[in-house]
């Protein structure tokens, strides 16, 4: 926690975020307000304060987590928000593996599944209190992730993609096969936990699930932050930007790659536990390759190697995958009604983002050059900066050694 809260400006940014949220939510707009607006205002407020007090504005990105605490009463649906946060936690984990250490992992979905099954089995079949199963869900997934991470050391690039996609394709089949443990295609039903005594008067089940998720998300962000802002963060950045150079300056590749896999899978498992708890039903076919690709999409669309990217991506992808049909991508071509299915929109978005904005949404807004590059590409223009023109002035004289009458004698013999 120390490095997160170190320095006043960041703290002030957070407090302001909280205040702005509270104001917006309770005083100015007592009626339900679009939750995203609240989050946005709070974030902007945090950034402004952090900037004015010359703090690092990126830390104010924690701001959006603060308003989340207050959003449960109105605004967007609590269940919706819960699912977004769960996606974000798992995406945070995947970003550690794929964004930060550059190991393409197409099996994040199956680790979420693992966590979900741990929670579901312990809670439903053995009567454990659900909150107690959550760390265990994370640890089981982390153990599996450790194993995959050790395997992954032997592979890179395309082979790792093959390996992890094989895990993603084979995993659900295996889960379905061992019916005695997983109930096969019938899945496992989980009873959603009731809020404990002290909270029972204020909160319903959904709200309780939501707050548990918020707390987990905050823990995940804080730990990731500490991990990524210090020495390890620098090492990981070096590793990502140039693996071979990083090795040259003595960064221990092996340790960090495996660590990233283990920690990243822990978040997946935790997210899986929360999934089981809040959805109330776990079935293996939800955790296949498509599900894994969804997390890759989240971090790419949000912005690789950024913590806020995982959250922004989660919002965009969640909204997209639930609302695309109603957003109305239906068009008519030559009088024939054509509605583009949701996954196709999703796929096209993914392709467009990597082509036009390789740093994702966060990249577009935080990096000026990225923004201008995007608009330039859209306009089809070329990037010609000014240094050519400037260079015109200092052209040196060319020494000519020739008699002027015949500068280019044609050659007929040697």
């Amino acid at each position: 926690m120390r490095s997160v809260l170190h320095g006043h400006p960041r703290l002030v940014g957070l407090v302001i975020s909280a205040l702005v949220t509270w104001l917006l939510n309770e005083v100015l707009f007592p009626t339900p307000l679009n939750g995203y607006l609240v989050v946005l205002f709070a974030y902007v407020g945090g950034v402004v304060v952090a900037r004015l007090s010359r703090g690092d504005h990126r830390y104010a990105a924690l701001g959006p987590l603060v308003p989340l605490v207050f959003l449960a009463q109105n605004s967007i649906g609590v269940t919706e928000l819960t699912q977004i946060l769960i996606l974000a936690i798992a995406a945070l984990g995947l970003d550690l593996i794929t964004g930060w250490t550059g190991q393409l992992n197409l099996a994040q979905g199956i680790f979420i599944g693992l966590g979900a099954y741990v929670t579901a089995i312990l809670a439903s079949k053995h009567g454990w209190p659900i909150l107690l199963t959550l760390p265990l869900a994370g640890l089981v997934a982390a153990a599996a992730g450790l194993l995959l991470g050790v395997l992954a050391l032997r592979f890179d690039g395309v082979y790792l993609a093959v390996l992890t996609s094989a895990v993603a394709l084979a995993g659900p089949v295996l889960l379905l096969h061992y019916k005695s443990i997983t109930n096969g295609v019938n899945g496992i039903i989980v009873n959603q936990p009731q809020p404990p005594g002290a909270f029972a008067d204020w909160l319903d089940t959904d709200q309780w699930g939501y707050y548990v998720t918020v707390v987990m998300a905050i823990i995940a962000v804080c730990i990731s932050w500490n991990l990524l802002s210090g020495r390890i963060g620098r090492a990981l950045r070096a590793l990502r930007d140039s693996p071979i150079a990083a090795k040259g300056i003595g960064v221990d590749l092996t340790r960090y790659k495996v660590l990233a896999f283990a920690v990243g899978s822990f978040w997946a498992g935790l997210a899986g536990g929360l999934y089981a708890m809040t959805i109330g039903f776990v079935s293996a076919d939800s955790f296949g390759l498509f599900y894994s690709i969804q997390f890759l999409t989240i971090i790419v669309v949000g912005g690789l190697s950024t913590i806020s990217g995982a959250f922004v991506g989660a919002v965009v992808i969640y909204e997209l995958s639930t609302n695309v049909q109603t957003i109305g991508f239906a068009t008519t071509v030559n009088g024939v009604a054509l509605s583009i299915p949701q996954a196709a929109v999703y796929a096209i978005l993914l392709i467009l983002v990597v082509i036009f904005a390789p740093k994702g949404i966060i990249g577009i807004f935080s990096d000026k050059s990225d923004w201008s590059r995007l608009t330039q590409r859209l306009r089809g223009g070329h990037n010609r900066s000014t240094d050519v023109v400037q260079a015109q002035a200092d052209r040196p004289p060319i020494v000519r050694l020739d008699a002027p009458e015949d500068p280019h004698p044609a050659i007929t013999s040697y």
């Binding site: 395997l151 690039g157 093959v162 509605s339 299915p341 996954a343 993914l350 082509i355």
Partner: protein, 293 residues
């Protein structure tokens, strides 16, 4: 595990389908370093096109077949031009993400146009069997195996003996030098994608009767094809085809063992894949590729 000739031939038939998809993967990988996750889904999509020609329009099977292959060829070439070329020089992760996007896209399009219910697609081969060496081998198996092999041999001939094939090998070997020979690298790569997609479509058409045509038909196949391509070291076309056949036969034999069954054979494939990667990362046929810094 009994070495049943019937099982082996049926394994060879489906193995030739795996081999075809693996061949497509390898053709693209060795010339561009790209792993095309959409290889299977593009094949499914093309198979649906063939299905529409044959079943909905009512064309003779082989006419529909040819049209589907042609459509696949164009599709592959267009995909290369539109989606792959803009990211060609981007980091590896970016390109993989694009092919994953294509994977989603074609899956979604198949689902959109032809829905999720299984479409019966009759086999073009006679339904009987032929009596060989004391067992019966179905004509369907012989047909799938034969046509796949012919299509793969055709690819081999194009590569080995035609000018276009020579250009393809040149682009694979040294893109800068090939551009200086007057070869349009872009066009050759488009052609390569087209060829891969066409081989995939043939595999899809042949497998449709056996695997049952639905939008997710090729996903299991893709895993086996990955394994086959890895056996071939990702760069050896012949290795990929042999790898496919090996996967098909072992899979048929392993599935026949009562306590394993077809579910676990997928997992067994995965284990085989990991073992191969661990013991011989360059594959059983491939050569070691230098890592570019």
């Amino acid at each position: 595990m009994h070495l049943d000739l019937q099982l082996i031939t049926s394994g060879l038939a489906i193995g030739s389908v795996y081999g075809s998809i693996a061949l497509g993967l390898v053709l693209i990988y060795r010339s561009t370093g790209i792993l095309n996750f959409a290889q299977g889904e593009m094949a499914t999509f093309s198979t649906y096109i063939g299905w529409s020609f044959v079943v909905s329009v009512g064309m003779p099977y082989w006419v529909g077949f040819l049209l589907a292959v042609l459509a696949a060829f164009l599709l592959g070439a267009v995909v290369e031009r539109v989606a792959i070329r803009p990211v060609q020089n981007q980091p590896h992760l970016t390109v993989v993400i694009v092919t994953l996007g294509l994977f989603l896209l074609f899956n979604a399009l198949s689902l959109k146009f032809w829905h999720s219910d299984v479409r019966p697609f009759r086999s073009p081969f006679p339904s009987g069997s032929v009596h060989v060496l004391g067992t019966y081998i179905s004509w369907v198996s012989i047909g799938i195996f034969g046509v796949s092999l012919i299509s793969m041999a055709f690819v081999g001939i194009v590569f080995r003996f035609t000018k276009v094939g020579l250009a393809m090998r040149a682009v694979t070997s040294n893109p800068m030098a090939s551009a200086l020979m007057g070869i349009s690298n872009g066009r050759i790569l488009s052609l390569g994608w087209g060829l891969s997609a066409a081989v995939g479509a043939i595999a899809g058409m042949l497998a449709a009767n056996r695997l049952l045509l639905d939008p997710n038909m090729m996903q299991g196949v893709l895993l086996y094809a990955f394994a086959a391509a890895v056996i071939g070291g990702m760069t050896s076309p012949v290795g990929a085809v042999i790898g496919g056949l090996v996967m098909g036969v072992t899979n048929a034999l392993v599935s026949s063992v009562s306590w394993i069954g077809s579910d676990l054979s997928l997992a067994a494939t995965f284990i085989v894949l990991v073992l191969i990667l661990l013991v011989r990362p360059q594959g059983l046929f491939g050569r070691q590729i230098e890592v570019r810094v």
